[in-house]
């Protein structure tokens, strides 16, 4: 699976792996959305990009879409471990005004 879901202390962690583009995004989306819907008590969704080797603007769409669903279920979103490039692409959307986004620690 290109994404592994773990839940811990009211937080859903989605660890993304591999390349995110228009071809791979739907499977990631479905798995994460299932986790959002099933974990009713969780208050936070964390998308962890440490295993992502490539992302184009489809990755931004993936994050924006998950933000919308998570918000509608009363959950907050955080994005962790973005590469310098992916962080730059993410910021073009203005998502940082809605959710915390973090670059990978040096």
């Amino acid at each position: 699976m290109p994404v592994t879901i773990k839940t811990k202390q009211n937080t859903i962690y989605a660890y993304l792996k591999g390349e995110i583009d228009h071809h791979t995004a739907p499977e990631l989306r479905n798995t994460i959305d299932d986790a959002i819907i099933m974990n009713e008590t969780s208050q936070m969704l964390v998308l962890d990009f440490s295993g992502v080797t490539f992302m184009d603007s489809s990755g931004v769409g993936l994050v924006m879409g998950r933000y919308r669903l998570a918000s509608s279920k009363g959950k907050k979103l955080r994005v962790d471990n973005l590469s310098e490039r992916d962080y730059k692409i993410m910021k073009m959307s203005g998502i940082e005004k809605l959710a915390q986004i973090n670059k990978v620690k040096e």
Binding site: D21, H22, F54, S57, G61, I89, M92, S93
Partner: protein, 144 residues
């Protein structure tokens, strides 16, 4: 500018080819001895242009995508991505950041990303005929 090498490829507008096409162009362009960053920039712009062909130009159908990649002695990579799809009626509107005609999980950032990671972006389009996107990328690393 003096062209030193050129690649041409034609493939179906199937999403599974997004990964293949960006890898192929980046691998070909890498003869210019570029940095990892510059190679990433090329992969990203090709991925955006090819996705546009699949999602917009050939929406609900499968057509051919034509890519030319030329490398120039001056250290420039020129990638041309062409389709014979539906075309864009208003190119200026299509290029606005966050504008998308599709909604869903499309971010509307395709052209913004292409502009951001290249040195020059040209879009020519005619409704019913198709679209040609030309991207120039200056490679600052050593020239062959």
């Amino acid at each position: 500018m003096k062209k030193i090498n050129e690649l041409k490829m034609v493939f179906d507008s199937r999403s599974v080819n997004e990964s293949f096409s960006r890898m192929a162009v980046a691998a070909f362009a890498s003869q210019l001895d570029m940095t990892v960053e510059e190679m990433g920039d090329i992969k990203t712009v090709v991925s955006e242009a090819v996705t546009n062909c699949i999602v917009h130009a050939y929406r609900n159908t499968i057509g051919k995508i034509y890519i030319t990649c030329a490398v120039f002695e001056e250290g420039i990579v020129r990638v041309r991505v062409r389709d014979k799809g539906c075309g864009i009626a208003d190119v200026e509107k299509a290029m606005e950041p966050l504008y998308t005609s599709l909604g869903g999980d499309r971010s509307g950032l395709g052209f913004s990303v292409m502009e951001s990671f290249s040195d020059k972006l040209t879009v020519r389009s005619k409704p019913g005929v198709g679209t040609t996107v030309t991207i120039d990328k200056k490679i600052k690393g050593k020239v062959l």
